[in-house]
Amino acid sequence: VSESFWGPILASVVGVRAQGAFGSGWVATASGLVVTNHHVVGYLQRVGLRRAGMPEIAARVIYADAKLDLAVLLPDTPLEIVPVPLGDSRSVERGEPVVAIGHPLGFDYTVTRGIISATGRLQRGVEYLQTDASLNPGNSGGPLIDRRGSAIGVNSWIRSDGSGLGFALPVHVFAERLAALDAQGPALAQAVPRYGCAECEAIIDPARDRCASCGALIPFLHRSVLEAPERARSERAAAALIAALGFSPNAAAIGDGMWRLRTRTADLVFEIDPAGKAVRVAARLVEVPTADVEPCLRFLASANDRATGPARFSLVRSVVHLEWRDPIEGFDVELSKQRLLELAAKARVFQSILSQKFGAPPAPIELDGRGAR
């Protein structure tokens, strides 16, 4: 199939950067609404959209539906992209060829092919298309495309205990809701976001803790709404610190509230803490050795006892970090920069000690936002 067939489709696919997660999405209406999975954006109000060779733009989550695992985003700046045409997912038949497009594990614009393995699979009362096209973390929210170049589904989940068992939400399940949002036109930019209940078909009231229709709990919604202003402050502080080091915060972003820099001396991760009140800065040093681990742990824990200053050794998924938490209250970019440079220099020294003295292997390189912790 020629580039002229794939070109416009690929151009309609975006990366969706949300809090601690990175997924895919695609432009689904002429007005520029972007479709992705709810589990990519959660109950955040704002996320980032990425396209090849373009600066990241912000988008507002205008609809999030936990039951369908669907979210609709309105970009702050019109994308001016031809949408992927919506296909007829009702008439799809077993054995039809399909392709999945997305950004699995950070490999952007990956196209994988397969067939429709089955239709009408039910999961918690929701219908899905089953496909054997290869899907991996990061594909979430990307389109499943039929042979006519139309989107017939949103790649949503896989069975981890199987192989080639991927599932996409068919377009016909959400087309009406999408059209209703689209029909609001420019008013949508000012509209209050709508949230679908995780258990039933109802639209929930964000001011309540439970769905008025079925009584299901509404997790995290209030928290994310309330924390937004503090998070925004923390994000600005982290971005200022990254810029002061001579890096682009946009280029360094690996997830919502998460950045990664590789300097000559250190592999640094910046992360907004869950309460949004501090920026955690960590240099990733080495992996803890698997054999004879106690002397290495003793060394690190004792070094924590001798050190003066906010930097400390910690362990995250078996990777040794030299880190500190910069509180947003009283944040001083120059002071933080100075401490960060000291931390980076110290990180290099300790990396070498830990490898030479304890045989600690280098920290693994991970590609997705979540893995960088």
């Binding site: 501090a278 955690r280 742990l297 690190l300 824990a301 003066t308 200053g309 040794v320 880190e323």
Partner: protein, 153 residues
């Protein structure tokens, strides 16, 4: 006071202020030679046969602790510790650190005791300090614990 501290578990041999309340002790040390303000409290004794798991748990917990506080190992004990340059710790911040460390210490001691067959040290240290004639409640009054004015940044 120094004798009492040494008979307990602690920690400094220069300027010391102490708050002790049941079941918690906090030691504040200001060491001008090292240019260091430190707030410490012992947590638990590292259990024999559980050294690696306890050290690992302490390092994993560090990733979630607030600014500047860390669990560290000192001989056979885990200590909750904050230490920074004197100029970096103005009085209001010091008070916040004392309060935060006090709250954290109780929680962390419980966490370790729930996970490992280890001995908690908070109550024991308070008792040792009382036996040594030191018994004062930490009331959170900034006046007694603040730095001299010339040390303020």
């Amino acid at each position: 006071l120094i004798s009492a501290l040494h008979s307990g578990s602690v920690l400094f041999d220069s300027s010391i202020f102490l708050g002790a309340g049941s079941p918690l002790s906090l030691c504040l040390g200001i060491d001008r030679q090292r240019d260091e303000v430190a707030v410490e409290t012992p947590l638990v004794e590292i259990a024999e046969g559980h050294v690696a798991p306890m050290l690992r748990a302490s390092l994993e917990l560090n990733a979630a602790l607030p600014h500047g506080v860390r669990i560290s190992a000192r001989r056979a004990r885990l200590v909750l510790r904050f230490a920074d340059a004197i100029a970096m710790v103005p009085p209001q911040r010091l008070l916040a650190i004392l309060r935060g460390t006090a709250l954290l210490a109780k929680d962390l001691e419980l966490v370790f005791r729930a996970q490992f067959p280890c001995r908690g040290l908070l109550a024991e240290v308070v008792e040792a300090l009382r036996r040594g004639g030191v018994s004062s409640e930490l009331r959170g009054e900034v006046v007694d614990l603040s730095l001299p004015s010339e040390q303020r940044p």
